[in-house]
């Protein structure tokens, strides 16, 4: 791809309004029961207790940055070609099904593949196995193949330097756009709409990789790659050019280059969108939404626009609240540490939010994966919804009852507490790195403790919010 011809302006995506029947709700066979109030109370109390005890006995010297890894071996580089091919195949299948298949979100492969198998499945897999998406990423695979061919033909061009000032803001933007698609768009379950968006996104990524080089682009401007890589850093496995190493879980995120601009935005947007997802089933939002919808209708918006606009307001509001809370806590830290700006502090502690973001995603979506996510099996046999049975699983019906509500509650709470503890440990260690003076380090820790307890309590509250 020649550089000049490949420059394309993004931002066309959100203006794509496809006239299609708007499904008012997402793919739902079953929704989680809200956690009982007493459970919420206990979990919040537990989080507090653990935090105080942990802070009291926390270690005195920063040690996470030197955490030891144990090499496990290596996998052949050619495996990446296979996984890349799988990714490309699944992407192609999804787009094809979206465009050519039945335009019904329950019988078409695209919505389940995109919102569950891809978004939740890859996220949770990343927490366990590391950055799996870099191996499966379809547009990256295509980009690298094209680059390889170009090099062979002597046609490759030196990539432009990726602009420092932009940093990870494009990734943050894409995550916001995806969150908007999931929570506010009225066409979110329209298979052909999804397929079109997927192609546009892939196209933009390919152009970006052509101009700035695959490595710099994927690390900064590919929203999904960036997010999954962040999550992958929490995993106990680390992959580097085929070499696998074992490390303590959660530690890998310390090496996250948080100096890159937009890094904090990526994590805050993730927490904010997941928060809104949880908040939107509650009664407070129900009332607020109706007021907003009436407002937009009175102003003149017709059709389903008021619903979309109200949800957009809610989504942006949730991100604002989450960000405001984080920076409020940091303002407290700043009262002790006057040498650094708020933004700087935000970046220095941004990695401590990654386990929180991971816990939020896990708590809100893991049961979606285990329940509705099962639908991927029959859908793979009949991706177009036309009655085929390619793998023999077309008659399979998801078993929605294999995990009881009680089990789901305990798993959700355990995930949130694990994320909370990891976040606290990371914040503690970072404070020790930054402040040689023990007193300052401890005092900064009180603020970060408040931030962490706040986020965890918010998450627990969101899990209980549908109780009305």
């Amino acid at each position: 791809m020649r550089r000049a011809a490949a420059v394309v302006t993004a931002g066309v995506v959100l203006s794509l309004v496809v006239a299609a029947p708007g499904w008012a709700h997402g793919i739902v066979g079953k929704q989680d029961l809200p956690i009982p109030t007493w459970m919420f109370g206990w979990a919040a109390a537990l989080a507090l207790i653990v935090s105080f005890v942990g802070l009291a006995f926390g270690w005195r010297e920063p040690r996470l940055a030197q955490a030891r890894e144990r090499a496990l071996g290596r996998l052949p580089q050619s495996l990446e070609i296979v996984t890349g091919a799988i990714g490309v195949f699944l992407f192609g299948l999804t787009v094809y099904a979206g465009l050519q298949g039945a335009q019904n979100f329950q019988t078409n492969l695209a919505p389940v593949m995109i919102f569950i198998t891809f978004w939740v499945g890859v996220a949770l897999a990343s927490l366990v196995f590391g950055d799996v998406f870099s191996a499966l990423n379809p547009w990256r695979a295509v980009g690298r193949t094209v680059g390889w061919i170009a090099r062979r033909l002597g046609q490759d061009v030196e990539p432009l330097a990726y602009p420092q000032w932009l940093g990870r803001w494009p990734a943050a933007f894409w995550l916001l756009a995806f969150g908007w698609l999931e929570l506010a768009s009225q066409d979110r379950n329209d298979p052909s709409y999804l397929a079109t968006l997927a192609m546009v996104y892939a196209g933009i990524q390919l152009c970006g990789m052509a101009v700035y080089g695959e490595r710099a682009w994927t690390a900064n401007a590919d929203g999904f790659a960036v997010f999954f890589r962040f999550l992958g850093r929490l995993a106990p496995l680390r992959w580097e050019r085929g070499r696998v190493a074992l490390r303590p879980p959660g530690v890998g995120v310390v090496g996250l280059d948080t100096a890159v601009r937009g890094t904090t935005a990526v994590v805050l947007i993730s927490i904010g969108t997941t928060s809104f997802d949880g908040f939107s089933v509650g009664s407070i939002w129900n009332d607020a939404r109706q007021s907003l919808e009436t407002l937009f209708r009175d102003v003149g918006f017709g059709g389903t626009s008021p619903l979309m606009l109200a949800a957009t307001v809610g989504l942006l509001g949730a991100i604002a609240v989450v960000s405001g809370f984080y920076y409020l806590g940091l303002a407290g830290v700043r009262s002790i540490d006057r040498s650094r700006s708020l933004g700087e502090l935000g970046r220095l502690f941004a990695h401590t939010l990654v386990p929180i973001a991971a816990a939020y995603v896990f708590a809100h979506y893991f049961s979606l994966l285990t329940a509705d996510g099962q639908a991927i099996a029959p859908l793979l046999s009949d991706p177009l919804g036309h009655g085929s049975d390619l793998l023999g699983t077309a008659d399979w019906t998801p078993n929605l009852g294999w995990i009881s509500a009680n089990a789901i509650w305990y798993i959700q709470i355990a995930a949130l507490l694990a994320g909370h503890i990891t976040g606290l440990i990371l914040a503690h260690d970072r404070a020790l790195e930054l402040y040689e003076d023990g007193t300052t380090a401890t005092r900064s820790q009180y603020w970060m403790l408040a931030v962490m307890v706040g986020f965890t309590s918010l998450a627990l509250w969101l899990l209980s919010v549908g109780n009305a």
Binding site: D32, A45, V53, A56
Partner: protein, 155 residues
Amino acid sequence: MSQRQRLVLLGLAVLVAAVALLVAGTGDGGDDDVIDTRTTATVAETTPAGTTSTSTAPAQPQEAKPRDPAPPTVVVRDGQPVGGVERFRFRKGSTIVLVVRSDAPAHVHLHGYDVLKDVEAGGSARFSVPAKIDGRFEVELEDTATLIAEVEVVP
């Protein structure tokens, strides 16, 4: 971190634990609004034990077949649920009973359990499903994807 600070933090931890236990001890069950369709059956089972059947009363004054006094009902008018979307709670292990009336013909779908019932214009359909899966399930008019009720099965 001085010894005193450490003690304060541990003291706070103990305080939180104490408060939590205190609140837990005085809390209530709070299980209202759960329609337990098992109890109607057990009530019917225990009544015969009390009857002394020496009299020749014309008909056994036993309870007739156990019937819910007023089954949970959703009335659909012009494609919308009258009174808004209501949430009906059932206990896991009992039976989900729901009656849907509609002025226009409709296909009503109970998600999760995946039960589809047709309603004629002016008629009604009765769902009677064993509540095996706990969770929250939407009941909607399939053609217009309109939510008309929610069924909640609690453990």
